[in-house]
């Protein structure tokens, strides 16, 4: 265990990460959120814990995770890092039923709580609404929607939401179900602004309904537009954070990346409308075919659980599949092995 560094100097309002309202609730979360998948890419657990501590010290309160990230390692490392700080943060994780039954969701919740070393989540979201029939399968009798409502009633989770990176239409279909979502997560970046746009189609609807919008993939997932020199990481993150969202979740697997992001987020001043337009002008040319948003136009960002539940081909190169193949308890069911459920 790493002892927490000495208490930071009290932050003046100009240097703190702004806190933003979580939808219609009297709850506030940091405008920058720490992504759970990348945390599992840290060199080791103690590095992951150091990143968590430094993020808290830097003013991050929103922590993202997911039941299947790194087959549980992301949740376990975050849980270890949050030990002693649980009350200071807003912990979210996601459930990977992908159309399967509600009982499975409940099992996954119990496992997430154990790994995160907590008795409740601040936010529990249905992960990866990426297939056109996901909304129907989510709402069906005995489906995940029922399990989520029960978890909230039982006090195991405070708020409910869903996530997805594929198509605004699927998000709108989820909203049309009438399920009482508190939060909705989606890709929001300068390229999305032009192409199958969540910014244009979903964000206004959430604002209208008082549902907290959570942005993700501000740097397009793996930073491809930065590598190709279209926009810098800072420009991209600033663009995403300037949208009317409750938080922007981004991956930080290294202390250096965290420090860079903190520098942008602390005392954050949103872009002006003119600056936003200027960024959009620069992303316009390459936005039109989705080359930098492969999560919308390919299976690349669809996790193994989603692919398996919908019988799509797996990606051998995805970390979770690689880890599964190597695991001594791999019996053909990627994660739902009883011995692993107990972990």
């Amino acid at each position: 265990m790493n002892p927490r560094p000495a208490s930071p100097v009290p932050q003046s309002s100009s240097s703190a990460i702004p806190l933003r309202k979580f939808g219609s609730h009297d709850v506030h979360i940091s405008a920058l959120g720490l992504g759970g998948h990348h945390l599992g890419d840290a060199t080791d657990q103690s590095e992951a814990e150091r990143i968590v501590h430094a993020a808290i010290d830097g003013g991050v309160t929103f922590f993202d995770n997911c039941w299947e990230y790194h087959r549980g390692r992301s949740e376990a490392w975050m849980g270890a890092g949050l030990k002693g700080y649980r009350d200071k943060v807003f912990v979210m994780t996601k459930v990977c039923t992908h159309g399967r039954e509600g009982a499975l969701a409940t099992q996954m919740l119990e496992q997430s709580l154990r790994r995160l070393q907590t008795d409740h989540l601040d936010l529990w979201q249905a992960h990866g609404m990426c297939f056109e029939n996901d909304p129907d399968l989510f709402m069906r009798p005995g489906g995940a929607a029922e399990a989520m409502l029960k978890a909230k009633k039982d006090g195991k989770v405070r708020f409910l939401g869903f996530t997805g990176h594929k198509a605004p239409e699927i998000h709108l279909k989820m909203l049309a179900t009438g399920f009482p979502f508190d939060a909705v997560q989606m890709p929001l970046n300068a390229f999305d602004a032009h192409f199958h746009s969540f910014e244009q189609q979903v964000l206004p609807e959430l604002q209208k309904r008082g549902i907290a919008p959570l942005g993700m993939k501000p740097i397009n997932g793996h930073g491809d537009p930065v590598i190709k020199g279209v926009l810098t990481a800072e420009e991209l993150l600033r663009y995403a954070m300037s949208l009317p969202v409750a938080t922007t979740i981004t991956g930080m697997e290294k202390m250096g990346v965290l420090q860079q992001n903190l520098k942008i987020a602390q005392g954050f001043q949103p872009y002006t409308a003119d600056q936003m337009n200027a960024i959009r002008e620069r992303s316009k040319q390459t936005a039109g075919d989705g080359r930098f948003e492969l999560y919308k136009v390919s299976l690349k960002f669809d996790n193994p659980e989603a692919r398996l539940a919908h019988e799509f081909p797996l990606d051998r190169k995805s970390v979770e599949v690689e880890e599964m193949v190597k695991s001594p308890v791999n019996n053909g069911h990627p994660y739902l092995d009883k011995s692993e459920l107990a972990l």
Binding site: G99, E132, G288, D289, L299, A309, P313, V321, V325
Partner: protein, 357 residues
């Protein structure tokens, strides 16, 4: 893929039984149990004699007629050698198949070479189509590819020349930009190098409709048509009626999912799948045939073809509705699997090795 990585699909299907609902599992089981020829009408059996010809159909408003089934060019390039391809083309022609599909980039040009050889001395009997792979590039690239296609196909003209794989959302803008590929289609037609022009794509009806919104004199439009498409991102529902209304000939493809996905997963029998596609109001249904056995199977269905009744079609759509709903067997719509090399390059996408799906 799933089997390779140690995950048993059978195990998964069992796990998923509660997942996808009993109906889909039932649909699977009943499809598997269905006898091969139990289509019920009886009329097919009467007319499907080995001598009945493959019906000819109007090619839109062109005044031309083509055979109701077409030989797919990609699969022709997958036959074991030129001799088998020659035999396949020759038998197809004898049975009344006139429509031959191809594309500038199939097997890096081999498919066109093979068809060109196989049609030697028989060019006049065939309706030869090939496609141009500009993928956003302009007229000059298109005209160069046309000359190359004509050389490989050993002919001085094409019956039909189509823009290949219009699958990216900005493709219509690029095609209709000044100096774009649309200008090449008109120029080639004017020069008498091609008789008719069209475009193809397998991704999204919205892209096809955007192409058609340009009110360009397309003679044909090619699209995936099968019993799953009927209820999922449907070309049948969204594009087929619009093309028909305008007298543009519709060419169906991927009647069995592109690589027989519908057959391998027990959704339909080959006969059901092909008959469904051929029963739609299309000029032809292009089908991949990489062996004489597949050709014969298709000919058995196509000779003296009688369309399915509306009730038969509705039943098949209903039976496959649940499996259609997430696009698992129409991977050309939902993944990168069927997107070719040249298009990926031109649109700045990862290669098929880097991003198979």
């Amino acid at each position: 893929m799933a089997e390779e990585s140690g995950i048993s699909r059978r195990d998964f299907v069992r796990t998923a039984a509660g997942t996808m609902g009993a109906a889909s599992v039932h649909a699977l089981a009943s499809a598997e149990a269905r006898p091969r020829h139990a289509t019920g009408s009886g009329s097919r059996a009467e007319s499907a004699t080995s001598s009945a010809p493959v019906p000819m159909r109007e090619l839109g408003k062109t005044g031309e007629k083509v055979s109701a089934i077409g030989v797919g060019g990609f699969h022709l390039g997958s036959t074991k050698d030129q001799n088998e391809a020659n035999e396949l083309v020759s038998r197809a022609l004898d049975a009344g198949v006139t429509f031959f599909d191809n594309c500038w980039d199939y097997h890096d040009g081999q498919s066109e070479l093979i068809l060109g050889n196989a049609l030697k001395g028989k060019r006049e009997k065939a309706f030869v189509m090939t496609k141009v792979c500009t993928h956003g590039r302009g007229k000059d690239v298109a005209m160069e590819q046309l000359e190359e296609s004509l050389r490989r196909l050993q002919t001085d003209h094409l019956d039909l020349w189509q823009i290949h794989e219009v699958i990216h959302y900005n493709d219509p803008d690029l095609i209709f930009a000044s100096g774009g590929a649309a200008e090449a289609l008109l120029a080639a037609k004017q020069q008498g190098k091609v008789r008719f022009i069209g475009f193809t794509g397998h991704k999204d009806p919205a892209i096809h409709l955007k192409m058609l919104s340009h009110d360009f004199p397309f003679d044909t439009v090619q699209m995936p048509l099968n019993c799953l498409d009927a209820t999922f991102r449907s070309f049948e529902t969204h594009v087929l009626p619009e093309a028909t209304r305008r007298g543009i000939a519709v060419l169906g493809m991927k009647s069995l999912g592109g690589s027989g996905e519908l057959i391998r997963h027990g959704v339909v029998t080959p006969e059901e799948g092909l008959r469904y596609a051929m029963s739609l109001p299309v000029a032809t249904t292009i089908s991949g045939m990489d062996s004489l056995a597949v050709l014969e199977q298709n000919l058995q269905i196509a000779r003296g073809f009688t369309p399915m009744t509306a009730a038969e079609m509705a039943k098949l759509r209903e039976r496959s509705r649940e499996l259609a709903a997430d696009g698992r067997f129409e991977l050309f719509k939902t993944t990168k699997k069927y997107d070719g090399k040249v298009g990926r390059e031109q649109h700045g996408y990862p290669t098929a090795e880097e991003l198979p799906v």
